[in-house]
Amino acid sequence: MKKIEILGMGCPKCKVLYKNAEQAVAELGIEADIVKVEEMAKIQSYGVMMTPALVIDGIVKTVGKVPSPVEISKYIKGE
């Protein structure tokens, strides 16, 4: 199962990213665990300086922007 983390301290963009990730997972029809990471220390441990950030299986995929569900699906499929 994929682990998708959304890093961000609750800004509006983080919520949009969370929704997009949910949509991507639903469209792919896979099982995934989508988690919001809001603690600063944890966000920082990924070396992320701009939120929201998208992390899939521990790898930072995007920083400081909101990728669309289509883009997120691509990241999930590892393209």
Partner: protein, 319 residues
Amino acid sequence: MLRIFTVLADYLTYDLFNMNANSHLAKSIHFFIEDTSKIFVLLVIMVYGIAVIRASINIETIRDYLSGKNRFIGYFLASIFGAITPFCSCSSIPLFLGFTQANIPIGITMSFLITSPMINEVAVLLLGSILGLKFMIIYVVIGMISGIVGGWFFDATKAEKHLLVFKQNDIQQRVAEKKQLSLKDRHEFAKYELQEIVGRVWKYIIIGVGLGALLHGYIPEEFISTYFHGRAWWNVPLVVLTGIPLYSNVNGVIPVAQSLINKGLPIGTAIAFMMSMSAASFPEFMMLKQVMKPRLLITFFILLLVLFTINGWVLNIIF
């Protein structure tokens, strides 16, 4: 080139709607049509264009570029980067910590944090199209100087002593490899940015232009000089003080400023107000409270107050 929007507004207001050119309502409607059509057309072009360029700029590159630079070059570059990077107050803490960890002096980080919310492509565009090129250049230059001076001040006063010690985790460098961006990637990025930015700012612009239009049509020319004592020295610090806690989007304030300037509000006072509204906000202070001791936070607040007031005074003297 921008005349086309005036022509459009002329046509709609006076010919199509057949309104009396001297009525208050016609003046307001003309203002509203001209400003909204102009702003939205330019907004789309400009946001898209900037995003195509920005697609390949990321904050890590900026950090690496800023670390180890000569201080004054550092302040200058940080202000430029601040201007071209989009800002969100919720990003200020991770950014602050990321920069500090890379041993970038606090002053350089502060230059970035001061300029970033103040100067952005939407604000610059609005200033240029509504208030004119001269006004836009003044705003950008003064905004950058504020960032540079502010940054220098924080280093000169050794502000790093007043940072809260933050437990630093080891950074797991697990960032996906950067791929080369194709034109299509840039287009995709720019398309998304366009939707996101326009989707976020359009309401502020409509409200701002609407307010501006009402002021334009209904407030008599001598309003400001009669009730505002337009040039009294204490007006500038007063508007700055009001502006800092007022959490507003600079994009909505600009059309209002246009109307007020036309009614005699001094340019310096207007710029000082716009800067204080956009540069500092309560949400940002609440965020910064997590990394700065109260004393440093208060210094930051006062510094902004002083800087913007001086900006306003200087501009009021020049113009």
